[in-house]
Structure formats: C-alpha cells, structure tokens
Amino acid sequence: MNFETLVFYFLATILLFAGFRVVTARHPVHAALFLVLSFFTGAGLWMLLEAEFLAITLVLVYIGAVMVLFLFVVMMLNLNIEKMRAGFWSNLPLAAFVGLLMAIEMVLVLTVAGRTIGGAPVRHAAGYSNTKELGLLIYTDYVYPFEIAAVILLVAIIAAIAITLRRRVGTKHQDPSWQVSVKRKDRVRMVSMPAEVGPAGTGSLPPGAQKEGE
C-alpha cells in the first residue's frame, strides 16, 4: 500500500462518515456542516485524480457559495426538530429498501456493463494542465451541451428573480445617481436677513454686519 492509496482510504473514510452523519445528525445545521465536510473531502479525492480545476471549483462553488446560502436558509428557519423526526422509524423500512435498490443499480451499472473500474488512473507528465484540457474539451467537442446547460441556468436565474419580484405600494427607495448629482442651490437657499434693530442701548450690531455673503 503506497502513500497515495493511504490518502485515498483516509479521505474515503471521512467522506463516508460525513455522508452518514448528514442523514443522521440531529440538528439540520450540523447536517449541513457535515455536507460541507463531505464536499471538501470529495474535492480532496478529485485532487488525487489530478483534476485540480474540478476540485478547486467544487470548493469554490459548493462550499464557498452554495452551502453558505444553504446554511443561511437552514439557520433562519424555525425548525421543530422533534416534529421532523417523528416518522423516522415507520419510514425507515421503505427508505432502506429504496436506498438498497439504488446501491444495487449503481453496482450493476459500474460492473456488469463491461466497464473496468479499479486500477490506478493514468499518471500524466509534469507539464499536463487539467484546466487547459478541460477548457479545450468543453469549448470544442462539447460546446453545444455546454451552451445549452448555460442557457438553462440563465433561464433558471431569471425565473428565480421573477418569482421574488413583486410590486408593492408605499416602499421608499433612493436613487443614488440623483443623490450624487445634486447641487448646492437645489438644497440650500441663502437668505439675506438684516438684523433687527433692538431698543436703544441694548448693543445691537450695526445694520449689515450679520448679512450672509451670497
């Protein structure tokens, strides 16, 4: 067993443990944190396969953005944990059956279909850049699937924003471009007010001394 295999089993153990805890953790926030851990270990496994671009993107997109928003939502929900776990044991047999079925399907697909799994992946030379290879592939051979996926995502973004848009009356908002373009004369009016002359002998200033400059 060389060092690489050791690292693989180390990461795989953590990944399986974290995945298990995502399902079994009592509190949803803890479950989300275990999901973060499993993403991170998954990225480590991809790094072992020399897919550094995919590994780093997994960390950047899923851990750095998606899971933060996920956590954001989970924290804000007022969850009743007891209620959520109420049907756990009665639902377990069905869920276990579905899970087992999925596992069997996966094993069938990966072994029976004549594919070879296992065996070390091909090592690449020192100058090999996974990022460049990936870029060349998605912008040449797979350009249409890639573009279609991008358009689907764009539609999803616009739809999500459209759902949240609602016109409400009575909301206040500022227009910063109007705010910064304001001039002094729009806001301040200089008024010339001659001093009132008080009764004689009270020492009021001579007329014009308090006059503000225009």
């Binding site: 550094e52 950047l60 750095g64 956590l71 954001f72 924290m75 910063p176």
Partner: protein
C-alpha cells in the same frame, strides 16, 4: 546555503520533507502574526493622527509594546461559553475563521522562487480557500444563541457571497491578461516598469478588486457585520482568546488581500521603474512596500468613510460592481482578438 541544506538533509534523513515544510510554514506564520500585531498598532496610530489624536503611547517606547500587551491581556481572560450555545460549533467557529486566512498563504509567492508551494492553479486555490472564511463568521453568529450575533452572521453571509462574485470576475480579467492561473507567471507577465502592471489595462477591475477586498474582510465602510452602533456583531459573545482569534483572522485576511492586490495588479516583486538604483533593491522589499501601501489605504478608508447601509452595500455589489466587471471583461476579451491585444498583456 546549498551546503547547509544538504547537511540538514543528511541529518534529518527521510523526515526531511516534513521538517523542511514545517520550517517553511513557521517562516510564514511567525512574520504574519507579528505583522498582524503591528498592523493593529499602525491602525491605531494612523487613525489617531488622522483624527488629531496621539494613539497608544504608554506601553514601551512610543507604545511599541501595546499589541503585545493587548495579546497577553486577551490570553489571560476567561473564555465564556453562553448558556444555550451550541458548544462544539461555538468553539469550532474561530478556528474555521483563522484556518483559511492562514492556509491561503501556502501558495502566495514572495519572490520568483520564494514560496511554500508553486502550484499551477494557485489563483483559484487562493479564491477557493478564502471563500471558506465566511463559515467561521456565520457559525459564530449562529452558535452564540444571541439575536445580535445571529444578525451579524446573516449579514456576513450575504455580504461576503455578493462581493466574492465581483472579486472573482475581477480575477478572471487578470487571468485573461496573464493567460495563466499561476501567481508566479501572473507577476512575471507584468515585468518592465509600472506601466506594464495590470492596474493600467485592467483599471476598472483593479478598483473593483480593491473595494471588494475591503468588503470581503468586513472592514469599514463595509463593517455592517460588526456595526457596533447597531448590533455589535457576530463575535459579541466571544471573550478572551476566542475573540482574539477572530481578530487575528480579520487582520491576516487584510494582509492577504493587500498582498494579492500587489501581486495581481501592482507588479508583485517587480520594481516600478526598471533602471539601476531600483533594480538593486531586492524584490521582496517591493512586494512588502506595495502591500503596506494597500494596507494604508484600508486604514485610510476606515478613518474617512461613514458605514454603508445594508441595502447600499447590496446595491454596490450587485448593481455596480458586477456589471462593471462584466463589461470590462468583454472589452478585454474582445481587444485580445484585435491587433491591439498587446496593450492588455
């Protein structure tokens, strides 16, 4: 130098890779922590003078020992865990804040050969690692079981995710210009004086990166996360050394952003004018000077600008910065295809 290395190699035998890497890590962490300590001193002094005050001047000559005294004080204090806090997450959060702030330094080059690891996708690595820093803040806010710290954590999550996008787009511009994700190659692409640095062709992206960097580190004027006049912040329940670790993480992140800005837009270790007296000065000094300048800007911003309101922060990030970066990316990418493409390299 090489003789000493072979001698050490012989002495440590097969443990040499572990020993040498540990030594490199220490060689970065120790100056970094010292830098953090004296950045807090510089901050208090500089803002003090900007506000016509003197700043700390009692501990040691001219107050030089003030950061050490502050650190000692925090170290001696008790760490209080609030009742009802989620204890494990509460203690994990400071580490999650500090870890990324230190781990990102693994790929930061201080010179053409001077770094812990020279990896191909180092720019992406820095982005990915720094994007994890937000967990410390969000979890600290949640685990404290306090409404005020929770609000701080929520604000942090929204703000950091928003500005990360603008920051990422600004970095796409840099990698378009340098045609590499490797930080050493990005700096080497900027050789030949200050007009070859990327701040000039990528000027809008430079400004966006700088301001988004201030927002990412939750510094004033983007410090709604710990806006002390309204909510105090995500670390309101932390005391003693647990609080000090958040403090360390924030300042280590500031130094990281300043160094990254110098590397990506200000030519890194290249001197501003490539003629004799400037080229004699070692490259590390130039990088240090540039990073110090950016850090000075951070402090200057804090002394100058009033805090943004939450909706203003969101507007600036989504409606100003992201369109600006997208337009400039199109300009750069289109110009690369014309005979004038050399202007952007």
């Amino acid at each position: 130098m090489t003789d000493t290395i072979t001698l050490l190699q012989g002495f440590f035998g097969f443990t040499w890779p572990v020993v040498s890497n540990l030594a490199k890590i220490f060689a970065i962490i120790v100056p970094l922590l010292l830098g953090v300590a004296y950045l807090t001193y510089a901050e208090r002094k500089i803002i003090g003078y900007m506000q016509v005050r003197i700043g700390p001047n009692r501990v040691g000559p001219k107050g030089w020992l003030q950061p050490i005294a502050d650190g000692l004080k925090l170290f001696m204090k008790e760490i209080v865990i609030p009742a009802g806090a989620s204890k494990g997450v509460f203690l994990l959060a400071p580490l999650l804040a500090l870890g990324p702030a230190l781990a990102a330094w693994a790929v930061v080059p201080f010179g053409p050969e001077l770094m812990v690891a020279n990896i191909d996708a180092s720019l992406l690595y820095v982005m990915a690692i720094t994007s994890m820093g937000v967990y410390g803040i969000v979890l600290a806010g949640w685990a404290s079981n306090s409404k005020y710290s929770f609000l701080g954590g929520m604000r942090a999550a929204a703000q950091i995710v928003s500005y990360e996008l603008a920051m990422g787009f600004a970095l796409v511009g840099v990698l378009l210009a340098a045609q590499s994700l490797n930080l050493v190659e990005i700096v080497n692409g900027q050789q030949g004086g200050m007009f070859n640095w990327y701040w000039l062709p990528l000027f809008p992206l430079f400004i966006v990166y700088l301001i988004a960097g201030v927002a990412e580190t939750n510094r004033a004027p983007f410090d709604v996360v710990e806006g002390e006049s309204e909510i105090v912040g995500f670390h309101v329940e932390y005391s003693g050394f647990a609080f000090a670790i958040f403090f360390l993480a924030e300042y280590a992140n500031m130094i990281l952003v300043a160094t990254m800005t110098s590397l990506l837009f200000l030519g890194g270790w290249n001197p501003p004018i490539e003629v004799a007296p400037f080229t004699w000065i070692p490259g590390f000094f130039w990088l240090f000077a540039k990073a110090c300048f950016i850090l000075f800007l951070f402090l200057w911003f804090r002394a100058t600008f009033p805090r943004y309101r939450y909706d203003q922060i969101m507007r600036l990030g989504w409606k100003v910065f992201i369109p600006v970066t997208l337009v400039w990316l199109m300009v750069v990418a289109a110009a690369m295809q014309t005979p004038y493409g050399y202007l952007f390299h």
